[in-house]
């Protein structure tokens, strides 16, 4: 085994040792404090007095079972973990060595990961750390990481907002503000898969082509957006109204299967739509025919079959003279 020989003994006066080791503790051979580094003195506060015993200053966390500094050094080689007894919740790690000759014991401590709490609780500044200490880098990294995380969370929220807006847009008919065909299909699929009870209205405007042909497309668009407003006013939030084609609409009435109730809602819609609408001084007169089906009337609810049945009901309503609603009972299909 090789022995290292130092030609020079290291001598540090108190000012230099304060700079090189601001968290050192010099003990006499019996474990009583001779001097404290300035940062350790800030940690120990009122406890940092000359002559204080090591075991009164610190609770030893490791090596286990050790209480005095003699036991610490004997059991743990020269590494140990301590907790100050003054109640500060800051763990300390350290290294200790008996000095040859005087028998004094030099401990040098550091905060480890509790650095951030120590800086906050003790209002430490960069002057409290040795120039070689990586404390600044650790504090910097903690803040930089927090900033990046905040920025990413913000980005996620903004992207999620944009995604929801895009989805909303993809589901909306811009002219009427109602849902579109795609949205109605999704709602129907979802309700059928859940075997939910609901009423389905399939509505087609009457005399709409005449308005378009005689008063122009702007008048037609005006009528359509009016119909959108009427449907929104007549329905509850849980219902779904969609424009699925030129002047073709679908209304899904969640939980409504009572024939009289469905008939009444449909007739109320027709009555509202049949009221004359004024567009740039011209009167537009349209009406509506509605076919009604109920999800209960199919043994296994299926969007395609329901829409086909509603279409047949609508055809019957048109055939019976328009401006009316016909409920088709399809039990047994």
């Amino acid at each position: 085994m090789q022995t290292l020989h130092f030609e020079d003994r290291i001598e540090l006066d108190s000012a230099a040792s304060a700079q090189f080791m601001p968290m050192h503790l010099l003990l006499d051979a019996e474990g009583r404090a001779i001097s404290y580094g300035p940062t350790l003195a800030r940690v120990l506060q009122a406890d940092a007095v000359p002559g204080a015993r090591f075991e009164d200053l610190f609770e030893v966390r490791s090596p286990g079972g050790a209480v005095t500094i003699g036991q610490v050094l004997a059991r743990g080689g020269n590494r140990f973990r301590l907790l100050p007894r003054n109640g500060l919740r800051v763990g300390l790690r350290g290294l200790g060595q008996s000095l040859s000759g005087s028998g004094r014991i030099l401990l040098n401590l550091s905060f480890g990961i509790d650095l951030i709490a120590a800086v906050r609780d003790l209002a430490l500044t960069d002057a409290d750390f040795a120039a070689t200490d990586l404390a600044m880098e650790l504090l910097y990294m903690a803040e930089a990481n927090a900033a990046v995380t905040r920025e990413l969370r913000g980005l996620n929220l903004r992207l999620e907002g944009a995604r929801m807006a895009a989805e909303e847009e993809a589901m909306t008919d811009p002219l009427t503000g109602l849902r579109n065909r795609r949205a109605a299909d999704l709602v129907l699929e979802r309700l059928c898969a859940a075997r939910a009870a609901f009423g389905l209205l399939h509505m087609d405007l009457d005399f709409f082509k005449a308005v378009n042909d005689t008063l122009g497309h702007a008048a037609g668009d005006f009528v359509l957006s009016n119909v959108g407003r009427i449907l929104r006013e007549q329905l509850r939030a849980e219902d779904c109204a969609a424009r699925i084609g030129g002047d073709e609409f679908v209304v899904i009435l969640a939980g409504r299967t009572e024939p009289k109730m469905l008939q009444m809602i449909a007739e109320r819609i027709i009555a509202r739509i049949s009221q004359p609408m004024e567009f740039e001084g011209q009167i537009c007169k349209v009406s509506a025919s509605i076919g009604i089906v109920r999800s209960l009337d199919l043994a296994v609810p299926d969007p395609v079959q329901l829409l086909a049945a509603a279409d047949r009901a609508l055809y019957a309503a048109k055939h019976a003279g328009r401006s009316r609603a016909v409920l088709l009972v399809t039990r047994g299909e």
């Binding site: 880098e137 504090l139 910097y140 990294m141 920025e151």
Partner: protein
């Protein structure tokens, strides 16, 4: 050659995103959202907001900067310098000032710490590429900062940022763009004013 080009593209787009977001913040805070929308419209952008964490075409920060200069009726160099100052002084971006103040106790320490900035940034975001910075002390209280960036805006933002940080440290400085990649800093008075307070512990949120 191909690899170099790819590296350039990655490097460029990070800086473009950071500068574009900073420009956006400066224009909105100083001149209002309507002016920023004018910039976006004139630039024929499909978006009204840049994301610092996304990537944009290399060179786009300089392009949008020139358009902002037209809209605001001010030289583009002055606008980018103001963006740099705004980054440090704007209370919403206190985090940036704090991160920069971790660079050192004095303004000179801070200047040298700029050399570490790309490395420090990579600690937080491993794939973030900031341009390399070198700082030389060329005489007593005279420094030269060199930074090679594909964006002309980078140097002007640095000038504005350094001016604001000198203020933060209480130092009186003359900071000038010497050439495209060199900025000179002459410290006239290291303790011209009281430095702004800086606690190592982050403020409570």
């Amino acid at each position: 050659m191909r690899d170099n080009l790819a590296a350039e593209t990655v490097l460029g787009s990070d800086m473009d995103a950071l500068l574009l977001r900073s420009l956006q913040g400066y224009v909105i805070d100083t001149f209002g959202a309507a002016r920023w929308q004018m910039v976006c419209r004139r630039a024929e952008l499909s978006i009204l907001s840049f994301e610092p964490m996304l990537r944009y075409d290399p060179g786009s920060a300089d392009r949008i900067g020139r358009i902002a200069a037209e809209v605001l009726g001010r030289p583009v160099e002055a606008i980018w310098e103001d963006v740099g100052t705004h980054l440090v002084t704007n209370p919403d971006r206190e985090g940036i000032r704090r991160l920069l103040r971790f660079g050192g106790v004095t303004f000179a320490d801070f200047l040298y710490s700029l050399e570490d900035l790309p490395g420090r940034a990579r600690l937080a975001m491993p794939d973030l590429e900031l341009p390399d910075v070198t700082v030389d002390e060329v005489g007593e209280d005279r420094f030269e900062l060199r930074c090679q960036s594909h964006l002309g805006a980078t140097q002007r933002v640095l000038v504005g940022l350094l001016t604001a940080m000198a203020d933060d440290y209480g130092a009186l400085c003359l900071i000038e763009a010497e050439s495209a990649d060199c900025t000179s800093i002459l410290v006239l008075d290291r303790r011209h004013a009281k430095a702004r307070r800086f606690d190592l512990a982050p403020p409570e949120r």
